[in-house]
Amino acid sequence: MSEEDRVRAAKNQAEPGERLVGLALLLIFGLLAAGIVTAGYLAYRNYAEHYRVEARRQLSSIAELKVNELTQWRKERLADGGILFKNAAFIALARHVLEKPADAEAQRQISDWMGKLSQFGQYDRVWLLDPQGVTRLSVPGGQRPSAAATLRLVSDVLRSGQITFQDFYRNEHDQRVYLAVLVPICDDSAANRPLGVLVLRIDPSTYLYPFLKRWPIPSPTAETLLVRREGNEVVFLNELRFQTNTALNLRAPLDRITRPAAQAVLGRKGVMNGIDYRGVPVVAALRSIPGSPWSLVARVDETEINGPLHERLWLVSAMVTVLLFGAGAGTGIVWRHQRVRFYRERARATEALAASELRYRRFFEATQDGVLILDATTGMILDVNPFMIELLGYSHEVFLGKKVWELGFFKDLIANEHNFAELLKKNYLRYEDLALETHDGQRIEVEFTSHVYLVKNHKVIQYNIRDISARKQAEQALEKTAADLERSNQELEQFAYVASHDLQEPLRMVASYTQLLAKRYKDQLDQDAREFIGYAVDGAVRMQRLINDLLTYSRVQTQGKSFGPVDAHSALGEALVNLASAIEESGGIITNDDLPMVTADRTQLVQLFQNLIGNALKFHGEPRPHVHVSVARETADAAPASGPRRSPSTFWTFSVRDNGIGIEPPYFERIFVVFQRLHGQAKYPGTGIGLALCKRIVERHGGRIWVESKIGQGTTFHFTLPGVV
């Protein structure tokens, strides 16, 4: 791997976090964009759907409206005919005119009727024809021949006697398209003899065509077609918007299924998409008009309907685009922000690393341990700290570039490559004390630790060496002191034993021979001499007691037996047996709680109870002595601050309470000191060692002893002892 590659790799390695953030942002943007596009598409589709339905509904209702109006219009026309049909006055007048054409008055009257009819019924001309179809009268103005198509119907009308609607036809005289209502006139007085026919001609261009052309809302392509079927053709009946002269002229074959007009005459109803007469795609509502041969087509170009949809599509697209840009910009800003933060953090991390490096470098240089860092694979020394150099007395150059076994001062530990490899198998190694040889041949004791760890996948070993020569010396000194102390203690013990033993002999001599003197020469001795001998003997006896007590006291620690579980209850019992005579003498009562098992030296526990109860009996007041021994699980407060035996989890606090003379508070500490007494020999004899002995015994057990007392009321001694684990 070249240097360049390594740099590149490092760079790539350094930025995975950033790349990850970029990727995440890209993903977020993708999702956002997909969401926006989908939402836009759905909104548009929904709108288009809704719009189309609405447009069709609108078209449909316009068609419905027109159909209703046309139907109404036809009814009105027939009703107009009905006004004259069976009208007796009119019939009479018509008969008169037809039979007597010369009567001008009658002519004038009927013209009046017909004129009014034309005027109010929007008929452009009204004829009175005789049964042969000859025009007898024509209003308004002068004689005009009626169309041949009309004349052909006269006989049918007269035969049926019904008002008849003549559909669109072309007048051969003026080539225009008309409709007409034919009203038969029959003489009801003469068995309905046909008298003639009244023809009410309608010019569709005055009302019907404009009505059809009208559209309730402004529209550039909307149109209404009125069609009827003639054979296999559909005939357009009205004038169209985009083509002139179509009425009765424009025809189309019925088999054109895409044509709305054809479909309409074939009886289809509803809304359809199709191609109109111009060949343009349209949306059309189809209806047939009841009671007529007509069908109605209300249609709008698809382009008109789709026009607003295109607009909406553009709008939605624009909005989507804007939103996409917005999302893109937002993501971009976030990405930029992340990048800035990433680089700032990296800069900070670099600074922190530099600071850390500085701290550890200082530590490495300043530490009072020798540190050696080596390459684990080659054993080559990579770094050595100044203290190591100082400690071993070799120069920096001696270390660097050498393999560790070449240094020599590790002696047997790392004498060769093989040793080193063995050592390397253990990741952590520690020698409490290892002897090294310094440059000037001096031997030093060190504590040696070896760590193996990875630095960027590269195994490195760190040796730490701590000079413990001073500590070793101190330890040796301490051991020597301890041994001296032990010996000294033994000697002292021996001394105490010998001294007390040897001191007793002369005492006994003094006591025995003064007594022998008194016994043998009692006749020769006076009262004074006997008294003096008494003091001498008493002194010797006391001296002996002191020696014995002191001996006992000195031996609490060294001659004590090992600890074991002891039933405190039975220890107390044994103490009471030993005290039997004292109890009897004082008349005292001793009571006690149930006492637990404790960890103790049984002999010493008996001694402890014996001394405390003995004291209680000895220092009694007026009432007869009452001693109570109680026990409680010890409170944290009473736990010994320190001591050799702290392991048992429970301590018991024993209390020996009496009703004796009591002790004043200033003496609470003093009473536990050897030979410290509060009373004269005459009143309360004793050596002053009892409580000191108690204290030594309790302390040997890791407990403590203290006293509570009120003068004249009594004293309670408390002491703690470890329970049984």
Binding site: H501, E505, L507, A511, S512, Q515, L516, V541, L551
Partner: protein, 151 residues
């Protein structure tokens, strides 16, 4: 019976005691005895062994019927004397009363381990001392049947 004894051969007692005061006290106490006795006093362990084995100046000495032995002696202490006596066939039957000032438990235990027949602490009071010697005499010289001499 006691009176007849008084006129028979005296009981031989070996008192091993380095303190002449104590030796004298013991002798004084035994002087008043109802039984005729002869107290031989030696003041160290070496002398004691020589007496028992009738060596040197003690070649003509009698064999003691009872040994009163102090523990703390010059040259060879009482424990050693006791051990050697109990190890020697001709001496092991002689009853040994350890009479000492020591009240130390280890001394008592050790003495019995070495087959001392009895361990007595010397009381400080004269009357007490006299009583103790008297009781030794009563017990060992009148109550107990001693092994035959020369056995």
């Amino acid at each position: 019976m006691n009176d007849t004894l008084k006129y028979g051969n005296p009981i031989e007692i070996l008192l091993v005691e380095d303190n002449p005061g104590d030796a004298r006290l013991a002798q004084e106490a035994l002087k008043d005895s109802k039984i005729l006795n002869n107290v031989n006093v030696v003041d160290d362990g070496v002398e004691a062994m020589a007496f028992l084995h009738r060596q040197g100046p003690y070649a003509k000495s009698p064999r003691p019927d009872l040994v009163l032995l102090d523990l703390n002696l010059p040259k060879k202490d009482g424990r050693e004397v006791l051990a050697e006596m109990k190890a020697a066939d001709e001496l092991k039957r002689i009853p040994v009363v350890v009479l000492t000032t020591s009240k130390a438990e280890e001394d008592i235990a050790k003495s019995y381990d070495l087959h001392a027949n009895c361990y007595i602490t010397k009381p400080i009071d004269l009357e007490q001392f006299m009583k103790v010697v008297k009781s030794i005499e009563d017990f060992w010289l009148t109550v107990v049947r001693l092994p035959p001499r020369g056995a």
